[in-house]
Symmetry: C2
Subunit: 334 residues, 2 copies
């Protein structure tokens, strides 16, 4: 099989690393990987590191001229974007350049929960990118993944899971029985290695996740694995719905609101779940690749508890979580 | 096979009539049809007419209470909406009520050309409806049809096609070689009768059209059928693109702009065409129903020329077209 040229934007981030690792170790397909990197980052240790592993690194200013972007993408078969949110305009520039360069498949920044269009969680930023991509008829595959294991690894009193936990608090929503798709970051790249060379996924949305868990299940699992109590803060579904729709204020900032909207999407509505994903038009990667063995949440949690470092945790400033806790526990104003 | 209960909003309009006729004459399926009609229209001749044909007519105020809407939809299996544009909020109320009433399939007002999301032609009004439908998880089928034959039946000097022509002027865009899907209104209902009982079309978009024609083809066809010259106004693609994006003014009103955006979508970009529809995720009704015989444009044009009345023409005020002609022929300002 001839080599597939893959260019990746954001190849040193969490998802990007997972993809680069999986493409490098793929046994079914020869991938030639180019990481497109900001000029000021081209000598950063993480870029030097991927270069040392045989990946071509090309300095490219996403805010630069279209001519340069088109040139950088000239031999690219598949362009994968792993940018943080709020890079809509850069991604739209990439789309125009990819279209002119004849890229055969564009994989935009998605990598998240399934959700209705233009609703919450700044989903409209992504929808604007998808709409532009469709306007210029760029062949695409959109890949969503559910939440990372790091979102459902709760903190425990010993602090031994802290380095693997993205949520500063465990807010147990309602009865805790809503299932949500969760995925090991390492599996995302492995899915991608199959999906991007699969003709069935061209111009389709794919839901590539590990397993569904409820909040009660992941709390019980953490209790079992750590032998510790798992502190959680019970909040009602009604409260989550109400806070998710409150206007932003100085005490309720955009990313706090987005977190509450994730609680609403995942644990109230149950929208990050495969039957809803299929309703929205997604293919289920488990149907496409029945032989694929995912990494279970229990394995990630055990690794984390025994000190494993391969996690993407940025639990961040505690005041962020204290503020959220206050808002979610506050009595209704009437 | 047990009867399928179909409720229709807008059952006396052009598309609605086509659907009602086709459901009534369906040989494969027994449909029980309810037309939901505004209270003030319940005794109008066209409503009395469909009642006389065995269709239940129910007075319903779409702006009324949700309780009444839910009650009216209680036994409905399939709810079909054929409302003119700008009824977004009513359609959203219908979606909420249909969801509560347990409607098994919702067919929103689409019935138009395929196009990228949120781009032009007030497409955002429809996208808002679709987003809400997906938010509440209402099972759906979206049916687009290309342009009616009335859009590609040009006016000729004798005036003998005027009663079948929706376009007051024939603007020949560029070389006239872009294909666009066109459909006889009568065929829309016939497609619908198959689509709404087809499990393959549940939660999918379907492109149900007759045939593709270019502007050169339909002009030549009209010349052949009428024996007359077909007056047309050549306009460049560049001019259409530029006017399609001009801001509205007193001399360039919203519906004029929408018409130019249709010219752009259909005859510049070629977005109302099956390969693009498939790219957007549509199923092609010709693939689903290979035995379906469509009514050719030539047949509609012959019927129109020999005085047939079964057409939906509202060519409207000539000043509308004079204004458009002026704008599209104007020299660029530099």
């Amino acid at each position: 099989m001839s080599a597939v040229n893959v260019s990746i934007v954001g190849g040193t981030g969490n998802i990007g690393k997972s993809i680069v690792n999986a493409l490098l170790s793929s046994e079914n397909q020869d991938f030639r990987i180019t990481a497109l990197v900001r000029p000021q980052s081209i000598e950063k240790p993480e870029v030097v590191d991927i270069r040392s592993r045989g990946i071509r690194t090309t300095a490219l200013d996403l805010g630069g001229s279209e001519h340069d972007l088109v040139k950088a993408l000239e031999d690219t078969h598949v362009l994968i974007v792993c940018l943080p949110p709020r890079h809509t305009s850069q991604e739209i520039k990439l789309i125009d350049a990819a279209s002119k360069a004849g890229v055969k498949r564009f994989v935009p920044s998605a990598w998240a929960v399934t959700a209705p269009p233009n609703d919450l969680m700044k989903r409209d930023w992504k929808e604007a990118v998808y709409a532009h991509m469709k306007k210029v008829r760029l062949p695409y595959t959109i890949i969503d993944t559910g939440v990372w294991h790091e979102v459902v690894i709760p903190r425990v009193p010993s602090g031994k899971l802290d380095h693997a936990a993205l949520m500063g608090r465990t807010f147990l929503v309602g009865q805790g029985e809503t299932p949500c798709a969760t995925t090991a970051i390492q599996d995302i790249g492995r899915f991608v290695a199959s999906i991007i060379v699969d003709p069935r996924t061209l111009n389709r949305y794919v839901f590539a996740y590990g397993e569904h868990v409820t909040q009660n299940q992941y709390i019980a699992l953490a209790r079992e694995i750590t032998g510790e109590a798992v502190p959680y803060i019970p909040v009602s579904q009604e409260k989550v719905v109400s806070v998710a729709h409150q206007p932003e204020t100085a005490d309720f900032q955009v990313w706090q609101k987005v977190i509450v909207q994730y609680l609403y999407n995942n644990w109230v509505k149950g929208d990050s779940e495969t039957s809803y994903a299929k309703y929205l038009g997604y293919l289920d990667a488990h149907d496409l690749y029945p032989e694929f063995k995912v990494k279970p949440l229990s394995e990630s949690m055990r690794e984390a508890f025994s000190g494993g470092e391969d996690f993407a945790a940025q639990v961040g400033d505690d005041s962020f979580w204290v503020g959220l806790e206050k808002l979610l526990l506050e009595e209704e104003d009437r």
